[in-house]
């Protein structure tokens, strides 16, 4: 009984590690998609990331910490750390890209308003935004 539960836990850990690795790959794919301005690739990768996150959540809660051996714990810690590091880089990039997009959206809006109200000083809005 104890052996079977230990083996089951090892399978769950292996599945969990596999998901962490897949997620790490997807984070890299999304990073490249953002930098290459490949919106479709980014959207597809995000869909896969969300699916992997849901699966990861289920796998993690299936692990029984009491039965987790040192090898399994190391493996999980190592992959989780790697994913964390990747996601931190990804987070910075998303934050930067998001800010860039917000500035561009504001510029588009300013441009439209300037076209509608040519008398208005556009420079004031720009400097306020900056």
């Amino acid at each position: 009984m104890g052996e079977r539960s230990g083996s089951t836990n090892a399978n769950v850990v292996a599945a969990c590690v596999k998901i962490l690795k897949d997620l790490e790959l997807e984070v890299q794919t999304a990073t490249n998609a953002i930098t290459c301005n490949k919106l479709m690739d980014l959207e597809e990768s995000l869909w896969r990331q969300e699916t992997l996150c849901a699966r990861l959540k289920r796998s993690i809660y299936a692990i029984r910490p009491a039965s987790l051996n040192a090898e399994g714990a190391d493996l999980l810690r190592e992959e989780a750390s790697r994913l964390k590091a990747q996601s931190q880089i990804y987070e910075k990039l998303v934050s930067r890209a998001s800010r860039s997009t917000a500035i561009l959206q504001h510029l588009c809006s300013l441009y439209r308003n300037a076209a509608r109200h040519p008398g208005r000083a556009m420079s004031m809005s720009i400097s306020r935004e900056a």
Binding site: K21, L23, E24, L25, V27, Q28, A30, T31, N32, I34, T35, C36, N37, L39, L42, E43, L46, Q49, E50, C53, L56, K57, I60, I63, P65, L68, N69, A70, G72, A73, D74, L76, R77, A80, R82, L83, K84, A85, Q86, S87, I89, Y90, E91, K92, L93, V94, R96, A97, S98, S100, T101, A102, I103, L104, Q105, L107, C108, Y111, R112, A115
Partner: protein
Amino acid sequence: MIGLNSSLSIATEALGAQTAALEVANNNIANANTPGYSRQVVSLSSAASIQNGTTVDEGVSYQGFTSVRDTVLDMAINAATSDQGSLTAQNTLLTQINSAFSGTTTGIGASLSTLFSDLSALSTTPSDSSARQTVLSDANALVDAFQQGAAALSNASSAANQQVSSAVAQVNELSQQIAALNGQIASAGANGSDGGALTDQRDELTTQLAQLLGVSTTQTGGTPTLTTTNGSPLVIGDSSYQLQVTTAADGTTHVLDGQGNDITDELTGGTIGGAITARDNTIPALSQQLDALASQFASAMNNAQAAGYDLNGNPGAAMFTVPATGSAAAGITVALTNGSQIAASSDGSTGSSGNVTTLLAVQSTNLPSAANPTDSYANLVGNIGFAGSQASSGLTATTSSLQQLTSQQGSESGVSIDEETSNLIRYQQAYTASARVISTINDMYTVLMNMSLGES
């Protein structure tokens, strides 16, 4: 699986690429309504290397940016612009001529009609000096109308000469600016830049040049070359070749290339081509027709005069004088100085009006041009109207074609704020979703760390 250092390197490249993309997008949006601006796109390529037989993703490499252009479309626009310039010049000149010939109460047609009407009245009172003086005044009015018609054609020809001179000066100025831009574009290229804004400026100036003159653009060994359609160089690389104007013996303005060769007859398209076509083809044909009418009408009237006798019983003298050389319409004058000289009498008696019938017959008798004077004049007016109508309808068609081409260019090279905005919204939604995933990853990381640390 790549290491953390590689990831950091990829991210650094990525942030650089993002900054470049932001600058390009900013530039595109700011220039959405700039005439001649071509949308710029960022050139990024995936960086990868093969290590131990495995392809390792190394992120993205920023290659610079390029402007979106369609050379064939640009050439089509220049050709259409050139046609438009030519037809505009012709249409302007022909409208000017048409207004001088289109009057129904004044002008040659009305004067002819009045002359014959008053001659008809003279037949009932051949000895009435007042009626004779009226006919003489009518003849003078007709001569004035002929001279005004000739002056209108001559003025249009002079206007064409001025257009050519003025346009050549503009061509030279534009050629210099284009040559200077070619130099700057070459320098930018040597520094690894696309020179997009400079190329846009050059394309815009080339289109302005096409409005003035038919041009041909080629690349000779990487050097942009701009020539007239007959091959005379205007710009080669960063050197411009100035056209010159000179006045020929007949008073017309001629165009010489950089080597001093007369290329007037070879220039087509643009304001210059249109003005030259109107000046050297259309206007001379109309002048010839008007001169023929003046000369043949004068001859017919003089012959009719010669068949009769004036109030004093003398043989009829010539009513009109036409110069032996030059324009008959411009030089036609009334030879008679007194109404009594009108040869109304057929037998030399004072009360005879028998020759008035001969004089009146000129109105309905065909001239050597195979039409009577009234119809000959109607033909002339019809030809002026037809030439004007052709130029006008051609201009309408070319303008429409040019609008379509410009619209096509705008959709390929121009910036659509709507498209940019729509993409930005999708990006923003993607970033929101990314933040959600990152948050989940962080939560999972905490759970896993607590779990694994608790056991180790």
